[in-house]
């Protein structure tokens, strides 16, 4: 369990990192928190010719208000910093509810927001949360820059829209619409393990308690975070009572791309989608009605 040989570069700035990435093309990997990449190297499952260490780039750290009212999280912000940040607490409570499920504090101390998103581990919680929140991601290369929605960014199992030479630099979480409630729940084998299945839900209601918008995203159903559009649409235009939540759960259970592995059969994943969709929707709905 020793990695194959690689070159190691410490980038001092985003520009330098992008320049190195451009030079190496597909042969280099950016090193963020290393919580996934280092094990992959030790198992010799990843064999980059070079690592470009982003840990010394100040510009990639920190959480700020976005111009349009949301928040911006620089890609190298540690997950633990995200979890404990006052702006996040205020503007993205779903993130705060989710973070305790992301591995253990030791791993969150080191793991970064951008690292988790760029790695796109299908059982990771942050991609589903960012999809649910409608986050936008800023991608830069030596010559280009662009913004993608989280929906556009995640393209499958360990797959993203990142092109060769591109680096994820910032995540922007938009402002919270009024009367919006959130909930996250997952079932994992042990505290801190990747989810067998998780659900991130957000529900926006009007003054009368009618659901105006719902977003439901599954963690680890099969091939990466998956939005449950049909289940979400079924809730719009009505209050969410137990029957409605239950029906949405049934739709989600029917729609998800359930796969099996050593820990969960496809049928069990469907069951978890059914149950957790119902539970998160009810909680999100109650919170939406209770908020201003």
């Amino acid at each position: 369990m020793k990695p194959p040989p690689f070159e190691y570069h410490v980038a001092d700035s985003v520009d330098q990192a992008l320049s190195l990435l451009a030079d190496y093309g597909d042969e280099a990997k950016p090193l963020a928190g290393g919580q996934s990449l280092i094990p992959l190297l030790n198992f010799r499952l990843a064999r980059p010719a070079a690592l470009i260490d982003l840990n010394h780039i100040d510009a990639l750290q920190g959480i700020t208000r976005a111009p349009d009212g949301g928040i911006r999280v620089a890609a190298m912000t540690r997950q633990r910093a995200l979890e404990r940040n006052a702006l996040v607490r205020q503007f993205a409570p779903l993130v705060v509810e989710t973070m305790p499920h992301v591995a253990h504090p030791q791993i969150r101390n080191r793991g970064t927001v951008g690292g988790s998103l760029a790695h796109a581990e299908p059982a990771a919680e942050l991609p589903a949360v960012m999809i649910t929140l409608g986050a936008r991601l800023h991608l830069r290369s030596k010559r280009t820059e662009r913004w993608l929605t989280a929906d556009e960014f995640f393209t499958g199992l360990f797959a993203t829209a990142l092109q060769t030479g591109e680096l994820l630099t910032t995540v922007e979480i938009p402002a919270v619409p009024e009367r919006t409630g959130y909930a996250f729940e997952e079932v994992a084998r042990r505290h801190g393990d990747f989810a067998l299945l998780g659900v991130a839900a957000s529900v926006t209601v009007d003054e009368t308690g009618v659901c105006r918008d719902a977003r439901i995203t599954l963690v680890n159903p099969g091939a990466g975070a998956e939005r449950m559009q049909r289940a979400a649409s079924s809730l719009v235009g009505r209050p969410i009572d137990d029957a409605a939540a239950r029906a949405a759960g049934e739709i989600a259970a029917a729609d998800l791309t359930a796969t099996g592995d050593v820990h969960a059969s496809p049928a069990y994943r469907r069951q978890l989608a059914r149950v957790l969709t119902r539970r998160t929707l009810l909680r999100a709905y109650d919170r939406g009605r209770a908020s201003r």
């Binding site: 020793k2 194959p4 079932v187 084998r189 505290h191 990747f194 820990h263 059969s265 049928a267 069990y268």
Partner: protein, 782 residues
């Protein structure tokens, strides 16, 4: 010292060293000129090995040597059968052990094929990728039932089938018992594979000193003396030319009792190259290359009378030994014998077939087959109780061997080759204490109310016995040095059990010292020549008893010398605080150090027959093992929708005879229970149809953490063993043994669904959901 140390909650004297990172573990060692090893292992579960091409490796910069089977010469022969099977009439045992490196055939994923020696482990691993292994895959033997089918591929081509052994034992007349039974309950039970997963993997460092013709080996073994003996024999050296040191070891749990190919190869390479050689097993190797435990399938039935009394048990089971069977029949015999538990079973018919498969070798892991037997028996009792309308507690109460029936002889042979005889026991108090501590009556009262609130809580109460402290023997040497320090040396290795403290307590009591005054040396063959090792929950019983005997003899020497000096009767000599004095005159004392000097005069004459020094060596070998017992009770809450289980309470009432140190015993129990919880609900070595391990990292092989293991409440009951002077019984494995049975009972009790039965271990939420769904679709009572 006025306070007896035996029985006190003495803090572990080794912990400061361990906690400060000052203890020596094998990977801490480094020597000038040392070379590092990587091992090329089979990626195939079953294949013809056609060619191993290492030409590309030799040219790789930094590589010193590379070895395949063809390079080993006389070393290339099958290893020893470490534990010969007991002489049970009519039994069959086909011994097949592995050669140090594979030749001709590959029989499991992880089997060593080639050894690369290089300037660093990194370089060695780079070079390992250059080895070309040309192998022709054969269908793998994975499933136990399929392994015995007539056309199954053969793990060992020279055998007519994949049967490694067959053993039948019986007591009484089961057929007759069955005829008179009110109920006969029959089930098939499956207990799948698990790993020991010690925090420290294996490792070997060897150094051959040509000037002194001495081989020194540091090894993470539980059995340094047998390893020394094997190396001396393999290299035609005298045993005094080989020194094996087992330093601090991060957990043994059984697999480190084995003698592995690496333990032979690394010293051999050190002798070939004349340089220190280091191999540290990594976790990926450990998952496939270190022995595993636990795959058995039981077809069992119980015959009970109308009151729930056991009339007889019949059991026929398959035991997976993996690709080879170097450890004999210890694990299946443990399962066969321990099934009987603390119960009177007048008729018992048990047979097992050991099966070769293309999987990692199976040898004892904490519990060593006992948990399988306990699971089968406890589940059968649960089902019998249900059919008869008894509680799980009541059916157990009705079947315990009564306290006046000891010694109790089951008339079948145990792993130590002696008849399975329980030395002493008093079983009902453990049950009553456990149900009192877990508040069983209150739980039964509250359960329906909680259920009405939608909460599914369940309780499980099970019993077990554990044969511990088996022979043959261990030794101990106690010596008082001229500086007054006292050293104890034993031959057993230590892997975290607290030997440094509990053995010191025994010595301290004899010599009037504090345990911290006694320096304990374990696991160094130069310090103690004779012994066997740390296994079968025997350290405290066997090495502890030897320690007691040696310390008593040193005490006699001290007292005799002091009585001569003080011209007082030996009975009037008091040993206290490292000094000896005449009772009533503590101010006129002589230190142990001064006595040690006087016992070793450098000039003048001694009386003929005088032995120098204050030193004694003693050995202890029990006539047979002592039987510990206990009751575990747990309360779980199950989410019926997600089938996830949370353990709310865990209670252990146990009896391991007289307790040396309750703190250490509780620690042993806590660790064992944690392991048992892992076995029951988290840990599973999953093999696919090709014999590939699909849970080969801690991402997928799930060890329970502090978050999954609840606080464990313990109560001690002490029924002394008559088989050793201090009345001790072993406790090392106890905690792990009955957990799965308690878990199954508690989860069934929580859900109480018709047709929902737990007949297998390990479980998972996904598997529980499947079982619940199956019961929902077909809720027939069985």
């Amino acid at each position: 010292m006025s306070t007896r140390q035996f029985g006190q909650r003495v803090l572990r004297t080794e912990d400061p060293r361990l906690l400060r990172g000052e203890a020596l573990f094998i990977d801490d060692l480094s020597f000038p000129d040392m070379l590092h090893v990587a091992i090329v292992r089979s990626m195939h579960a079953h294949a013809r090995l056609l060619r191993v091409d290492v030409a590309g490796v030799r040219a790789h910069p930094g590589v010193t040597a590379v070895y395949t089977a063809d390079d080993l010469g006389a070393l290339m022969k099958p290893g020893p059968v470490l534990v010969p099977p007991p002489p049970i009439p009519g039994s069959t045992f086909n011994a097949r052990t592995q050669t140090p490196l594979a030749k001709g055939k590959l029989r499991f994923v992880g089997e060593p094929i080639a050894v690369i020696v290089a300037s660093s482990r990194y370089v060695a691993e780079d070079a390992a990728e250059l080895v070309v292994v040309d192998a022709d895959p054969i269908d793998a033997v994975v499933d136990l039932d399929a392994a015995l089918a007539p056309n199954a591929p053969l793990v060992h081509d020279d055998l007519p089938s994949n049967m490694a052994a067959h053993v039948a034992q019986r007591r009484g007349d089961y057929a007759k018992a069955r005829e008179s039974a009110a109920r006969v309950i029959q089930r098939r039970f499956r207990y799948d594979r698990g790993a020991a997963a010690a925090i420290e993997n294996r490792g070997v460092i060897a150094n051959w000193d040509a000037r002194t013709s001495e081989l020194t080996v540091w090894d993470t073994t539980q059995a340094p003396i047998p390893v020394r003996n094997a190396l001396a024999s393999s290299f035609s050296l005298s045993e005094s030319q080989v020194r094996v040191i087992a330093p601090y070891i991060g957990g043994g749990f059984g697999p480190k009792i084995m003698f592995y190919p690496e333990e032979l190869l690394i010293p051999w390479i050190a002798m070939q190259l004349g340089r220190p050689i280091k191999w540290i097993e990594d976790r990926s190797e450990n998952f496939v290359g270190t022995t595993q435990e636990r795959e058995q399938i039981h077809d069992a039935e119980i015959a009970v009378d109308k009151d729930g009394r056991i009339l007889g048990i019949r059991d026929s089971f398959l035991h997976d030994t993996g690709a080879y069977d170097p450890y004999g029949l210890t694990v299946p015999i443990n399962a066969q014998c321990t099934l009987l538990g603390p119960y009177e079973v007048p008729a018992y018919e048990s047979e097992f077939t050991v099966v070769f498969t293309n999987k990692t070798i199976v040898t004892p892991v904490r519990g060593a087959g006992r948990q399988h037997g306990v699971f089968v028996m406890e589940r059968l009792l649960d089902f019998a109780a249900k059919e008869l309308g008894l509680t799980a507690v009541e059916i157990r109460r009705r079947n315990y061997i009564p306290p006046n029936a000891f010694p109790y002889n089951y008339e079948i042979l145990y792993q130590d080759m002696a008849p399975l005889t329980y030395d002493s026991g008093n079983y009902q108090p453990a049950l009553e204490q456990a149900i009192k501590l877990v508040e069983y009556d209150r739980f039964v009262e509250e359960q329906p109310k909680l259920r009405a609130e939608g909460r599914h809580l369940g309780i499980g109460v099970v019993s077990y016995v554990e044969g511990t402290g088996i022979g043959p023997y261990e030794g101990a040497r106690v010596r008082v040095d001229p500086n007054g320090s006292v050293t104890l040396a034993t031959g057993v290795g230590t892997q975290g059990q607290g030997h440094f403290t509990s053995f010191a307590q025994i010595v301290a009591d004899q010599l009037g010292l504090a345990p911290t005054d006694v320096r304990v040396v374990t696991g160094d063959t130069r310090e103690m020549h004779w012994g066997t090792g740390t296994f079968a929950s025997r350290g405290a019983v066997v090495a502890g008893s030897a320690t007691h005997a040696a310390a008593m003899r040193v005490r006699e020497k001290v007292v005799r010398l002091a009585s001569e000096l003080f011209e007082a009767a030996p009975d009037d000599i008091v040993l206290d605080g490292g000094r000896a004095y005449v009772r009533g005159s503590p101010s006129r004392a002589i230190s142990l150090g001064e006595l040690a000097q006087k016992a070793n005069p450098l000039r003048g004459a001694v009386r003929p027959g005088t032995e120098p020094g204050l030193e004694a060596t003693s050995y202890f070998g029990p006539e047979r093992g002592s039987t510990a017992n206990g009751v575990h009770a747990m309360v779980v809450e199950v989410d019926p929708e997600t089938a996830n289980v949370r353990i709310l309470r865990y209670v252990v009432a146990h009896d391991c005879g007289n307790v040396i140190n309750p703190l250490i015993v509780e620690g042993q129990i806590h660790g064992g229970v944690a392991l048992g919880i892992g076995n029951a609900f988290y840990e599973k070595l999953s093999y696919d149809g090709n014999g590939q391990l699909t849970s080969a990292s801690f991402m997928d092989y799930l060890l329970p953490t502090a978050l999954e293991v609840p606080p464990i409440e313990t109560v001690h009951i002490e029924t002394p063993s008559p088989l050793n002077p201090l009345g001790m019984k072993g406790v090392g494995e106890a905690g792990a043994i009955p957990v799965a049975a308690a878990f199954a009972q508690a989860v069934e009790n929580a859900l109480a669904r018709p047709g929902f039965e737990i007949l297998e271990i390990p479980l998972s939420p996904s598997r529980l959901y499947e079982l619940l769904e199956a019961a929902r679709q077909e809720p027939r009572a069985r």
